[in-house]
Amino acid sequence: MKQTNTTIISNIPLCPDWFELTFTWDILSGIPMPGQFLTIRIVNQTSPLLRRPFAFSWFDRASSQASIIYQRRGPATALLAGLRTGDTLDCIGPLGNGFEPFISQKSIIAVAGGIGIGPMAFFARTENNNARPIQFVYGCRTASMIPATSWFDDLKTIVCTDDGSVGFKGTTGDYLRSLPANRYSLYDLFCCGPTPMLASCARFAQENNVTCIVSVEQVMACGVGACMGCVVKTIDGFVRSCKDGPVFNAQKLMWES
């Protein structure tokens, strides 16, 4: 993990308000793993102030290029969307613990909700080359929120839309529950997305005794484990999502009721 100025290779819109940012990544800073993130200081000003965390959505070792997929939400991401090829980016990373595909014979279901697609696609595309079968489940509100990328070509993908405009109609949680119950024991779940989605997957997993690994999102101040600002409640008390996470076994987390 290092602080470095990287150079933007491209900053491409994927669907309304979503962008894929690709930049140089020096492997001396460490090799980004799926589920790990970096923090970016977007402007040399006092507002927006804090660095912003984004999960890696890809790392290409050959070209030494890394990517994130981000959504324009507020001041920092609006500024990010204005950056162009050749601009520099103050980055710290790779940070946190990624999705470690623990030893298991089971197939993987990788569930991504909304902008959680970045780290999950990174994970799925990486695992896709390995022995364990993997199924990618992507949930979003409607068809227009499916990013224009080619990854889906390589992945066994189920798209779930809230409005049924394409694929399975319902949430990713609904989709999981729609699978034959006698097959639940064949899967390990990996999830990244909005908290209600994670909670739903975690509930599903607990009820059906399925291993469920989730990546959580908390507001971060330091991003490196120094401030205790980003903690989540676990059965062992508060732990830092930036340093001890953001990937946790869902069983360890205390889900709000």
Partner: protein
């Protein structure tokens, strides 16, 4: 010309340079090890240490505000025993002075923490966080009452010869009165300032953002307030003042030094860019050289 000696004498110790990192923003040092050269630090102030471990406040704990952040971490810390066992060994390996930031809910807790730490090597001094509520006085913050401050300072003074620094809260009518109480109690220095009380409300969800309701405001937003208080305090007491609040650049730090501070701390700035402490350090050195200032006292000659 020789490099100026910007060491800062506080009680019986000398900090090698005026640039420290603020309590609660630097953990116990190890987190920033791979991001910066810790040896350039003039002092490293630990996260608050209490007698027993504390989990801290519920979440959310952090929200950004215009040019600032609001935090309600609480006194989340491992407690003095685990601190000594797990954290101090690493801190001892550093060349920079380690100042233990001490907190408590009653006078006796502060005293117990200092007493415990006294029996271990590796601590160069104490910074006493008096922003904590005094549970024996209806939760009134220690730092808002000069009598409580003088009493607490005096009792801690009796326990240690090491530098005793009282960290002032800005949430008072007259910070100079509190600084004088700390001086009267035997403090070697005061830190100025801790965070200001603030609140952010989520109007969509119609609830207060931080679980603790209020949080402490830090960052550039509060810098003008911190500089004004540093200026006032430095003119009220004889002991050194350590300026804190929104320092992002050497220029910001220099404002505190010109205002009368003998040292400074970078807090929120380190979150934003871990290279800020070094930039501040180098910038102060360059300023001293360029203006032919040979010691910290020279910075205090310019303003009335």
């Amino acid at each position: 010309m020789n490099t100026p000696d910007l060491g800062v004498t506080i009680g019986i110790k000398k900090l090698p340079n005026p640039v420290g990192v603020a309590s609660g923003t630097f953990g116990y040092g190890s987190e920033y090890e791979s991001l910066m050269d810790l040896s350039i630090l003039g002092a490293l102030y630990t996260k608050a240490i209490t007698l027993l471990p504390r989990g801290g406040n519920e979440i959310p704990r952090i929200i950004e505000t215009p040019s600032g952040i609001l935090n309600a971490i609480g006194l989340a810390n491992v407690g003095v025993d685990v601190f000594v066992r797990d954290k101090l060994p690493f801190l001892r390996t550093l060349s920079s002075p380690i100042i233990a930031n001490v907190a408590g809910s009653i006078e006796e807790e502060y005293i117990a923490v200092v007493e415990k730490l006294e029996s271990f090597s590796g601590i160069s001094g104490y910074e006493i966080n008096i922003s904590c509520p005094n549970v024996k006085h209806g939760g009134l913050s220690f730092g808002t009452d000069p009598a409580m401050v003088e009493s607490l300072t005096g009792k801690l003074r009796a326990k240690t010869k090491l530098p005793l620094i009282i960290k002032l809260t800005p949430n008072v009518t007259d910070i100079a009165v509190i600084a004088k109480a700390a001086e009267a109690g035997g403090a070697d220095a005061v830190s100025c300032i801790n965070t200001l009380i603030g609140m952010v409300i989520d109007t969509k969800q119609k609830k207060i953002v931080l679980a603790n309701k209020t949080g402490g405001l830090s960052g550039p937003a509060i810098r003008p307030i911190a500089v004004a208080m540093t200026y006032k305090v430095a003119r009220s007491i004889q002991i050194p003042v350590i300026g804190i609040g929104g320092i992002m650049t050497a220029d910001d730090a220099l404002q505190f030094l010109l205002a009368g501070a003998s040292a400074i701390q970078v807090g929120t700035g380190t979150f934003v860019d871990p290279s800020i402490p070094k930039q501040v350090h180098d910038g102060i050195m360059a300023y001293a050289l360029c203006n032919k200032l040979t010691c910290i006292e020279d910075f205090h000659e310019f303003l009335p």
